[in-house]
């Protein structure tokens, strides 16, 4: 199955800091994301995962290299234009959920539509529909303080997908969750990728996420050092198995 990439990063270099403190966080990264695929970006701390996620999410501009989102290059865009690109094409899920504590679950989802200029009854209806999809139809009026960690992350997932972005980027989506809730969130992300044909990229340390991945990209010291893909077919082994087999072979 071949798809045209919705996000394409080519030879991305990112320098952070200045003078003697300057660090090359990314040293020439190539990465493509295609619809219908859940990709995991894994690597040790300080390997450049979050920097790469920030660049892919149009939050940081690369020092050099080219990023193309849905056919549009980010080269030379100012912060407002980058924000517009995020609004149009990208949904975010954060490690700490980043929900608004003063807004209910429904309002937290609606605000993602509001910043896109979608207001009123239709926006409320759409937000409610997406919260039901993530299994929170009974928690619409609850505030984040009254929701469990897993529920909060599901609200964050609903917020990320409510505007139907082509790309969903998740930063350590299971890090703050227990096993059961972590699995539930990963299942949700896999469903979003496969059923809604979105491209989902999750930065993670968590090996429990491997069974849900279609592809695993490994980054170390600012460079992509490996990539594994789940073979197509219903009885295809999970990537965890492939990893084990690779380790055994080694």
């Amino acid at each position: 199955m071949t798809h045209e990439a919705v996000l394409s990063a080519k030879d991305i270099v990112k320098e952070l800091g200045q003078g003697a403190g300057k660090v090359m966080a990314l040293k020439g990264v190539d990465l493509k994301l295609v619809p219908g695929e859940l990709t995991l970006l894994m690597g040790p701390s300080g390997s450049g995962k979050t920097t790469l996620l920030s660049i892919l999410g149009c939050i940081l501009q690369p020092t050099s290299g080219e990023l193309v989102v849905d056919g549009q290059s980010t080269d030379g865009l100012d912060p407002e234009e980058l924000a517009a690109l995020r609004r149009e094409h990208i949904g975010f899920i954060f490690q700490s959920y980043n929900l608004f504590p003063t807004l209910s679950a429904l309002e937290n989802v609606r605000i993602a539509l509001d910043v896109r200029g979608q207001k009123g009854y239709e926006a409320a209806k759409r937000s409610e529909e997406v919260l039901r999809q993530v299994g929170l139809g009974h928690r619409l009026r609850n505030f984040p303080g009254n929701l469990s960690g897993g529920e909060q992350q599901r609200v964050a997932v609903a917020r990320a997908i409510v505007s139907s972005p082509s790309i969903v980027l998740a930063d350590e989506p299971t890090a703050a969750l227990d096993g059961e809730n972590g699995n539930a969130v990963m299942e949700l992300l896999a469903r979003i990728a496969h059923e809604q044909q979105r491209s989902v990229l999750a930065v993670t340390h968590d090996p429990r996420t491997l069974p849900y991945a279609d592809r695993v990209v490994r980054i170390e010291d600012g460079l992509i050092v490996g990539e594994e893909r789940r073979p197509e077919g219903l009885d295809a082994p999970e990537i965890t198995d492939l990893t084990k087999r690779r380790k055994a072979h080694a």
Binding site: T50, S54, I59, F94, V115
Partner: protein
């Protein structure tokens, strides 16, 4: 959602909200009192000018205000004015600071106003007890009831002395206060002349010129200026301005009142700015999340400005309630505070402006948000 987010951010920290509202409240009360005093003082200063039935005022050069008209003019100016086309009537009045000797001893300054009401010049304002006929009786005068105690008298029928002449209170006015705190004493023109030492003369402080309907005020004024030597001719509006300038600005009283109002605005602005800034700082991660979600900076600015606007509305309502109580309490004092619908509307605009200016520091803070911080929480 902008309104919801702004409202919830504001009410999230009730203690801080209270501090903000108290800041705005006191700022509004201070500005309302200062401007209300200014307005009240302005009305006092110009009350007699506004009440007079005249379009033009003839006065000696150097007349500073209604109370301080300078040297008395002879009748020549009146006759010349009467001969000017467009002039229907010219009425002399006498206005002069004089010495009021209290019956029980001691004295105070008053402003004698001698005017013949039959001539259509200047009737006593707000006659509450008695009539013009009562004031025409021998030695009769009208004073304002607010000043009875200051004048050392108690009621109608009491007598006192102005300069060397005996006077008897036969009528009382209500709410006619004097900015100079020298009470106005109304009487017929002849008695006024007698009390200021010009008995039997044609002398007057001002000649009040009434024009025929449709007459061109500016043309008549120019004609009068060509005919009169040694006298000024001012329109009622110009004379009002001159009197206001004299008492409010040459004495510094108005400057102090306006300065107080500006200080109130400054204090309010600083308090609201401090609160909005700290609120924005507390919610900075939420604003960064909004930015990461793709909101424009304009969207975030609107949230902050809505917070400022809500603070303004709540603060204004509370502030005006307190200000109205102060206004009510001031009505029996020698310097009552005035509150008008236009002043109330103006104060609301000032409050909104103050809160909008206060939002600048918060907006500057939020403009510097790095959306990448959402990944470092």
């Amino acid at each position: 959602m902008i309104f919801t987010l702004a409202f919830r951010n504001l009410f999230h920290d009730r203690v801080r909200l209270m501090v903000t509202l108290v800041g705005i409240l006191f700022s509004i009360v201070l500005v309302a009192v200062q401007l209300g005093l200014y307005l009240g003082a302005s009305r006092m200063i110009t009350a007699n000018i506004d009440h007079a039935d005249a379009e033009l005022w003839i006065m000696p050069f150097g007349a500073k205000s209604f109370e301080d008209g300078g040297l008395l003019m002879g009748a020549r100016e009146r006759h010349q004015a009467l001969a000017t086309p467009g002039v229907e009537r010219v009425t002399p009045i006498v206005v002069r600071f004089s010495e009021w000797r209290k019956p029980a001893g001691g004295s105070t300054r008053v402003v004698v106003i001698g005017s013949d009401a039959e001539e259509g010049a200047l009737l006593p304002l707000n006659l509450e007890t008695g009539s013009w006929d009562d004031i025409k009786a021998p030695s009769a005068i009208a004073v304002d009831k607010t000043y009875l105690k200051d004048l050392g008298v108690e009621a109608i029928g009491d007598t006192a002395q102005i300069n060397a002449g005996r006077v008897k209170i036969t009528a009382l006015t209500s709410g006619v206060r004097s900015f100079t705190q020298s009470p106005y004493v109304y009487m017929p023109l002849a008695r006024g002349r007698q009390l200021v030492g010009a008995a039997g003369s044609d002398l007057a402080t001002f000649q009040l010129v009434k024009l025929y309907p449709g007459a061109d005020v500016e043309k008549v004024r120019n004609d009068l200026l060509n005919r009169l030597e040694g006298a000024e001719v001012l329109t009622t509006a110009e004379f009002r301005q001159r009197s206001l300038r004299q008492w409010l600005f040459r004495t510094g009283a108005g400057v102090a009142l306006i300065g107080g109002a500006l200080l109130g605005i400054l204090v309010g602005t600083v308090i609201v700015a401090q609160t909005l800034y700290s609120s924005t700082k507390d919610h900075i991660n939420e604003f960064a999340t909004l930015r990461a979600l793709g909101s424009s900076s304009g969207y975030i600015h609107k949230v902050i400005l809505t917070q400022a606007g809500l603070s303004a509305v709540f603060g204004y309502v509370l502030g005006m309630l307190l200000a109205l109580l102060v206004v009510l309490a001031s009505q029996s004092t020698p310097l009552p505070i005035v509150m008008t619908p236009s002043l109330a509307a103006g104060l609301f605009s000032v409050t909104l402006f103050m809160c909008a200016i206060s939002a600048i520091s918060a907006i500057v803070k939020v403009t510097k948000i790095d959306p990448a911080t959402v990944f470092s929480r």
